[in-house]
């Protein structure tokens, strides 16, 4: 796991406390769960160099650009072009009394960010303020002190503050996405940051290695690998990068999702004949069988409260999504439309399942309420879209997209908008899995 930065932040000092509007009781500026949500227009001024010297001038636009890019990948913001700005707030001053609010609402900004920095040797002090341009008031202000080389981290921290203030929840900047990437005849597990940066190749077995599942405590990834000849299950601790074999039966074994306490895991195994779903106790390898059907039962995923399980079965003739109680009782079919519905992923906070189903001759990402109803199709591009994985807040879905002979790992907002590529260049990808918050910032 990436080292936790050792900086001694004195960052929590809150500026201008009187003007603070706590987000919890304030209004929610961006309702990201609304399927028709418009992108929120925000202006970010160049940061004011308060060092007094002309040194580090290039940091003025760097802070503004970096914050803009960081906010942009959330998919919620329309970062207004600086060329359209009517006033130079860095010259006029960056505190509330200096802000020319009509000049910002005049160009369509609903929110404004100003900032200032002081560089002293390698030390950096950064001040950031977020304003409600329409109401003409400060929403949140922060001061961060640290080393110059920690400036990116400071920007990401303020981006978190902006998200908390405007959406009621911190973003996913401290999350990562793992996936299996294929090249040539073999596949390995990789992971990258939420924005696609900082790729780590977790395995190097030069064989088939698939289906990574990130544990809810963030410390481990389980996966399936043929590294010892048969499809066995392993866990790997991310800070040690050593694999531990947790299930080997000489037949097919596949990992499902972890329990909330990271101690048990749903698995598929054909050890008793046909593919059945079991609960595996990770510490001692004990298996508890849940399904009992001669057909294929595979890809189990727990509901967030652990009381239900969604899985794929072809007991009805074609692969479809089924639900059952956590005990294995009360099996009922969820999907009926289309002849092939697989890869269920239970929403982390709602009774909703994302899955892949066939539409227009291709696989597309769908969602359906677990109470039943009509499927909602999220992806509409001409390609083939598979293997949905929810972000820990349920606001995004990572998935694999194949189009024009190229495969990519993508992330989209949960309403299907703002698709962006987070990994490409390998021959193929499968099974993205989203980490929990890793508290990196």
């Amino acid at each position: 796991m990436r080292k936790r930065r050792s900086i001694q932040y004195l960052f929590t000092s809150i500026l201008l406390v009187l003007a603070m509007v706590p987000a919890a009781e304030g209004k929610v500026y961006i309702n990201i769960d609304s399927p028709s949500a418009q992108k929120f227009p925000i202006a970010i001024t160049t940061f004011k160099n308060m060092t007094g010297a002309s040194a580090q001038e290039s940091l003025s636009p760097w802070f503004a650009d970096t914050l803009g890019k960081t906010l942009e990948i959330t998919g919620f913001f329309n970062i207004l072009d600086r060329k359209a700005f009517l006033v130079d707030q860095a010259k006029l001053g960056i505190a509330t009394e200096n802000i020319q609010f009509p000049a910002w609402t005049g160009i369509g900004a609903e929110s404004l960010v100003t900032g200032g920095f002081t560089v002293n040797g390698r030390d950096l002090t950064l001040e950031c303020r977020l304003f409600d341009a329409v109401q003409g008031k400060l929403i949140v202000g922060k001061r961060y002190t640290g080393k110059l080389e920690e400036r990116k981290e400071m920007v990401v921290r303020f981006a978190q503050e902006i998200l908390i203030a405007l959406t009621g929840e911190k973003g996913l900047f401290d999350t990562k996405i793992a996936f299996s990437g294929k090249k040539g005849g073999s596949s390995e597990i990789y992971y990258v940051n939420f924005d696609g940066t900082e790729q780590v190749k977790l395995t190097n077995y030069r064989t088939i290695t698939l289906s990574p599942k990130w544990s809810p405590d963030g410390k481990q990834i389980s996966f399936l690998s043929y590294k010892d000849g048969a499809p066995d299950l392993f866990t790997m601790e991310l800070n040690r990068q050593t694999a531990r074999k947790i299930l080997s039966t000489g037949r097919l074994n596949l990992p499902g999702t972890w329990s909330a306490d990271s101690k048990r895991m749903l698995v598929t195994s054909s050890k008793d004949g046909s593919e059945e779903i079991y609960i595996l106790t990770v510490a001692d390898g004990r298996l508890t069988r849940l399904t009992n059907d001669p057909s294929i039962d595979v890809s189990p995923t727990w509901s967030p409260d652990g009381k239900q399980i969604a899985f794929v079965s072809d007991r009805g003739g074609t692969p479809q999504i089924y639900l059952m109680d956590a005990s294995g009782a009360n099996v009922r079919r969820l999907t009926f439309e289309g002849g092939y519905n697989t890869s269920p992923a239970w929403h982390p906070r709602a009774n909703r399942v994302a899955y892949e189903g066939r539409a227009d001759g291709n696989f597309q990402i769908m969602t359906m309420e677990t109470e039943g109803g009509a499927p909602a199709r999220l992806t509409i591009n001409g390609g083939r879209n598979e293997n949905p994985a929810w972000s820990p807040d349920g606001r995004y879905i990572a998935f694999v997209s194949r189009q024009g002979g190229k495969a990519r790992v993508c992330v989209m907002n949960s309403n299907g908008t703002n698709i962006r590529v987070i990994h490409e260049g390998l021959d193929n990808y499968v099974s993205p899995t989203w980490s929990p918050h890793l508290n990196l910032y």
Binding site: L210, R251, P319
Partner: protein, 218 residues
Amino acid sequence: MSLTGTCIVLPQGSKEEVEMKRYGIFLALFMALIFAFTLMNGCSTPKKATKEEVATPTKPAGPSDEELARQRADQEARERGLREQAIRDQEARDRAAREAAEAARLKDISKIYFDFDRAELSSEAREILNKVAELLKASPKKTLTIEGNCDDRGTNEYNLALGQTRADSAARYLQSLGIDRKRIKTISYGEERPVCTEATEACWHKNRNATFVYAEKK
């Protein structure tokens, strides 16, 4: 080596070849030496050999008898080596031919194919499996690994399960024909080991298979 023994095996025609071949000269010298030695020792050599040796009494003394014996032994070893190599080559050719014939025979019973998202055995698949069963019955030492494969159109996890189901389906049928299940191993590769990658029905068909890998039990 005893002297008498050496005398007995001397070839008849060596005298005439003395002029033409070193080999002959050596032999002659050898015989001369032996003759002298025999006279001294009063060795009771057979008449035939003794006569020959009489013809070359004036030859000068050459290499020692140990050296001659060594050269002769070398020569014999070389010839033996060549003969053995020839035999080995022939055996390798025979083996390659047998293996090619075996491979050709096994190739016909190396794969069965499936319909999309199905693991049921077609009548063609059953015919091939009947031959597989015959082979296994005729060769009790043979073991079989059945690898289940899928085309890449489905979901990769589901396809891993489907590949296992396909392999199991073939294994069950062989078992029903009297083959001990212990001789059969199954493994699924799902869609992970395609034999081709084009998005055509012809290629998908090739990838939806159970592949039979034979081995000899040691």
